[in-house]
Symmetry: C2
């Protein structure tokens, strides 16, 4: 099945063979290890892990975001997120301030210390990405993004699209 698929036009769609799809799957697996390796190295021994990195990243990206919004982006339970946020707030990396319009909400921001850690994490991750981008070239990079976007779940693509074009403010 699907070993040599044909387009409606009769054009051979050789990039859609099971073989090609499997190669993409294996590439995703090994690449993701590299993707997380550098931040993981920085965080190890700091009592923080990947979950803290994710929280820090998205608070940096959406300063003043609420807990509920962060919950939707990360796709975890509030108990899971709260455990992470609690340590980040206690350690002075994140600030939580009562909402102005709606006082039930808490607005999350990185403190200067939190911003420093965020910077070192994203620097490390960008370094690897830059090397990969440079090696692959601009055309490859465009394709890379296209395929990744097509791979997302519908809900997550929504979050991605609203985030990705916001300026970084750095």
């Amino acid at each position: 099945m699907n070993q040599t698929p044909q387009g409606a036009s009769g054009q051979a769609l050789l990039f859609l063979t099971d073989e090609q799809l499997r190669k993409g799957i294996e590439a995703m697996f090994f690449a993701y290890q590299g993707f997380t390796a550098d931040p993981d190295r920085i965080l190890e021994g700091m009592a923080y892990g990947r979950a803290h990195h994710r929280a820090i990243h998205f608070i940096h990206r959406s300063p003043g975001t609420t807990v509920n919004n962060l919950l939707a982006i990360l796709g975890v339970t509030k108990q899971s997120l709260n455990r992470v946020l609690r340590t980040l707030i206690a350690d002075g990396l994140v600030s939580s301030t009562v909402g102005t319009r709606d006082k039930r909400e808490r607005h999350l921001h990185l403190t200067p210390q939190g911003a420093t850690l965020e910077r070192s994490l994203s620097d490390a991750q960008r370094d690897r990405m830059r090397t990969a981008y440079r090696a692959a070239g601009p055309v490859a990079v465009a394709g890379f993004r296209q395929v990744l976007e097509a791979m997302m779940d519908e809900d997550m693509r929504r979050h991605y699209l609203t985030l990705v074009d916001k300026p970084d403010g750095r």
Copy 2:
């Protein structure tokens, strides 16, 4: 820093801005969620998780592989892997046979039941990949693979390269 990098030739390398790199990072994060979502759904409630999926995938891909080889590919400790293998062997999805050349080694194979589960997991994952590939087109797919390969750690790229061109035997 690095907001509008210039090539040695003076050509603007706009795809290497921090902004572009960040978009790639966020795309990787959200895409990986989609990448694992379908197998995760199948495995939930089966007493298996992502670790079992990985073991099953690579045993399928390298029938007769040894524990040590699997350890290197997965990048975990033998205790972690053993916990997973033990349940898969006990449940009759994987067989472990004493090595022929070297009797210290165990050769790992999927049983017919293991192959059935592998099939359903990889079918689900390939379906999503196929949809993404089709939406993005062959040129994008080539770039996707290029960037992912450039993103891997050196050690893992070695494993990837020796695996990726092996036939799937299915």
